[in-house]
C-alpha cells in the first residue's frame, strides 16, 4: 500500500509500513498496530477514529517519540522520530498537568524549557491564559479546576510552546457531553488562532465520530487490532466551521458511513 495522499500542501509527518508489537504478560508477541502508512500535511488536521484497543493511541505514542516502532519508519520533515521533542506538542486524555504548578506555571513550563527569557515566557503565559479563557485562575492549582478548565489549561500549555505538530490523544473523552461540545468549538477557535502565524498540523485520536467530523480536514478510520487503515475520508466542510455544520445532511451521511465501517465485524 502506498502512502496516503494529503489534502493540503507538503507532508509534515510520514509513516511507512509502521508496526508495533508488544510482549504480553505470558511472553508472547501481540500485534498492536499496522502495518500502516499515513501522511499528515502541513497545516492539516487529521483525525483517527477506531474501536478501542485498535492501536490508535499507540500510533500517537510512536509519533510523539514515547514509544519506538517495531518496524517501518516515521519521520517529521524527513527526520526519523525516535524521541519526544518540543516541535511535537502532546495533549493527553487525563490532562497530565503538573499538580505542583499553578495554571500559569504549567503554561509557562514549555517556553521556559526551550530556553525563552522570563519576560517572553510571561508574555506567552498571559496570551494563552486569555485565549483559553482562564483569566482569574492563573494562580490556581490543577486540583482546583474543573475537567474542562484542566483540558483548556493543558491545551494552552501545549500551544504556548508554539509546536509545529499537535498530537492529541482523546483530549475530550473524560469530559461530560455538554463540556465536550463546548470545548470542540473552543478547540476550533484556538486552532485557528494558533495557526495564524504559521500553519500547524494535528493528529487527533478519538472514538467520537461527530468530534472527528467537526474538527478534522481528513479522517482515517482504523480497523480492530492490529490497527490498519480501513478508509480515508476527506471532510468537505469549509473553515471556519460553525456549530450548524453538525446539522448538515452531509455530516450525518458521513457519520453513518464511518459508523458502518466501525460496526463491521472484523473477524
Amino acid at each position: 500500500m502506498s502512502a496516503v495522499q494529503t489534502v493540503g500542501a507538503s507532508p509534515k509527518i510520514i509513516a511507512r509500513e509502521l508496526t508495533k508489537r508488544f510482549q504480553s504478560a505470558h511472553g508472547e508477541s501481540v500485534e498492536a498496530l499496522g502495518p500502516i502508512d499515513l501522511t499528515i500535511g502541513v497545516g492539516e488536521f487529521l483525525a483517527i477514529v477506531g474501536p478501542s484497543g485498535c492501536g490508535k493511541s499507540t500510533l500517537l505514542n510512536v509519533a510523539a517519540g514515547f514509544e519506538q516502532a517495531s518496524s517501518g519508519t516515521i519521520e517529521i520533515d524527513g527526520r526519523t522520530i525516535d524521541a519526544p521533542g518540543p516541535e511535537r506538542g502532546v495533549v493527553f486524555q487525563d490532562y497530565a498537568l503538573f499538580p505542583w504548578l499553578s495554571v500559569a506555571g504549567n503554561i509557562g513550563f514549555g517556553p521556559a524549557s526551550v530556553g525563552l527569557p522570563p519576560d517572553q515566557v510571561e508574555a506567552r503565559v498571559r496570551h494563552w491564559i486569555k485565549l483559553v479563557h482562564l483569566e482569574g485562575s492563573e494562580h490556581k492549582y490543577p486540583h482546583e479546576l474543573s475537567g474542562g478548565m484542566r483540558q483548556r489549561c493543558a491545551l494552552a500549555r501545549c500551544l504556548a510552546n508554539d509546536p509545529e505538530v499537535l498530537l492529541m490523544d482523546e483530549p475530550l473523552a473524560a469530559l461530560d457531553a455538554l463540556t465536550r461540545v463546548r470545548l470542540q468549538d473552543e478547540l476550533l477557535e484556538i486552532w485557528n488562532e494558533a495557526s495564524r502565524e504559521r500553519p500547524k498540523s494535528a493528529l487527533y485520536i478519538t472514538h467520537a465520530i461527530d468530534e472527528a467530523l467537526y474538527l478534522a480536514d481528513r479522517i482515517i478510520v482504523m480497523s480492530d487490532r492490529p490497527g490498519r487503515v480501513l478508509r480515508e475520508i476527506v471532510v468537505p466542510f469549509a473553515r471556519p466551521r460553525e456549530s450548524e455544520v453538525r446539522t448538515l445532511p452531509e455530516f450525518h451521511r458521513l457519520a453513518d458511513e464511518i459508523w458502518r465501517l466501525l460496526r463491521r465485524p472484523s473477524a
Partner: protein, 260 residues
C-alpha cells in the same frame, strides 16, 4: 463561624478527655489514696516538683539539647544519603538490582542490635548515638523515597519531555516535586523512629541526653524524674510531628487538596 469554633472546641474536648481522666485517676490513686510507693509510681504533683527541679537546674534543657542535636545530625545524614540513593534505586533498575540485596539484608536488623559494634567502633558518646539513630532514620527515608520514585506518573514525565525539558530540568522540576510528598512521609517516619532509637541508644551508649537521664534516675531510684524524662520525649515528639506536618503544608501546598 460560631458553629465551626464550637465544633472545634468539642473536638478538642473529646481528644483531651482520656488524658484528663488518666491524670485524675493517677492523682486520686497516689496523692489521695496513697496506693503506691513513690518509687513504683510517684504522684503527679511529685512529677511536677521533679520537673521544676530539673528545669531550673538546667539539667533537663541540657539533656534535651543533647538529644535534639543528635537527632538533627542523624536526620540530616539520613536525608543526604537516603534521598539520592532512593531516587537512584527507584528510577534506575540497575542501581536497584545492585543495592537491593545488601540493603534488604541490613534493613531487618534493629538499630539497637548495632549498639555493641557501634560502641566498639565509635566509643561511648555522641558519635555512637548519632550512628544508631541515623540507621533508623536512613531506612525510613530510603524506603519511602524508593516507593515515591517508582510511583512517578509516566504521563507527567512524557508531558515534560514533549515540552522540551532536558534531563536536568526533568529531574529538578518534575521527578523531585513528584517524589517530594513521599520524601516528606519518610522524613516524618524518620523523626518518629529517631526518638525511639535515640533514647534506647542513650540508655547504653551516651553520657548525656534524655535517654541517659532516664537511665541515670533509674539507678538512683528517682521515678519522678524518670517520668519527667518520658513525658518530655512525648511532648517533643508530638511537637515535631506537628512541625513537620506544618512544614509539609507550607512546602507542598498543592497537596492541601488531599488534606481534609
Amino acid at each position: 463561624m460560631m458553629r465551626a469554633a464550637d465544633s472545634r472546641a468539642r473536638e478538642l474536648g473529646w481528644r483531651l478527655m482520656l488524658p484528663m481522666l488518666l491524670l485524675v485517676v493517677w492523682y486520686v490513686a497516689t496523692d489521695i489514696l496513697n496506693l503506691t510507693h513513690p518509687v513504683i509510681l510517684p504522684s503527679p504533683t511529685g512529677v511536677v516538683r521533679a520537673f521544676m527541679r530539673l528545669a531550673s537546674s538546667g539539667e533537663l534543657l541540657n539533656n534535651i539539647g543533647a538529644s535534639l542535636l543528635r537527632i538533627f545530625y542523624a536526620n540530616c545524614a539520613a536525608l543526604l544519603l537516603g534521598v539520592p540513593l532512593g531516587l537512584a534505586m527507584g528510577l534506575y533498575k540497575p542501581v536497584e538490582r545492585l543495592c537491593d540485596g545488601l540493603l534488604s539484608l541490613f534493613r531487618p536488623i534493629p538499630p539497637l542490635a548495632w549498639v555493641p559494634l557501634s560502641i566498639l567502633w565509635l566509643g561511648i558518646g555522641t558519635l555512637s548515638v548519632v550512628f544508631i539513630t541515623f540507621l533508623a532514620a536512613f531506612f525510613a527515608v530510603l524506603v519511602n523515597t524508593i516507593a515515591g520514585a517508582q510511583a512517578v506518573d509516566k504521563q507527567l514525565v512524557r508531558a515534560a519531555q514533549s515540552l522540551g525539558a532536558g534531563q536536568r530540568r526533568l529531574m529538578v522540576r518534575v521527578i523531585l516535586p513528584s517524589v517530594a510528598p513521599a520524601i516528606f512521609t519518610g522524613f516524618r517516619v524518620a523523626i518518629g523512629v529517631s526518638w525511639m532509637s535515640i533514647v534506647a541508644a542513650e540508655l547504653i551508649a551516651a553520657p548525656s541526653g534524655l535517654g541517659y537521664m532516664i537511665m541515670y534516675y533509674r539507678e538512683v531510684l528517682r521515678t519522678d524524674a524518670i517520668i519527667v524524662g518520658m513525658l518530655t520525649i512525648g511532648v517533643i515528639g508530638l511537637a515535631m510531628d506537628f512541625g513537620t506536618r506544618w512544614l509539609e503544608r507550607r512546602l507542598l501546598p498543592w497537596r492541601t487538596g488531599f488534606h481534609l
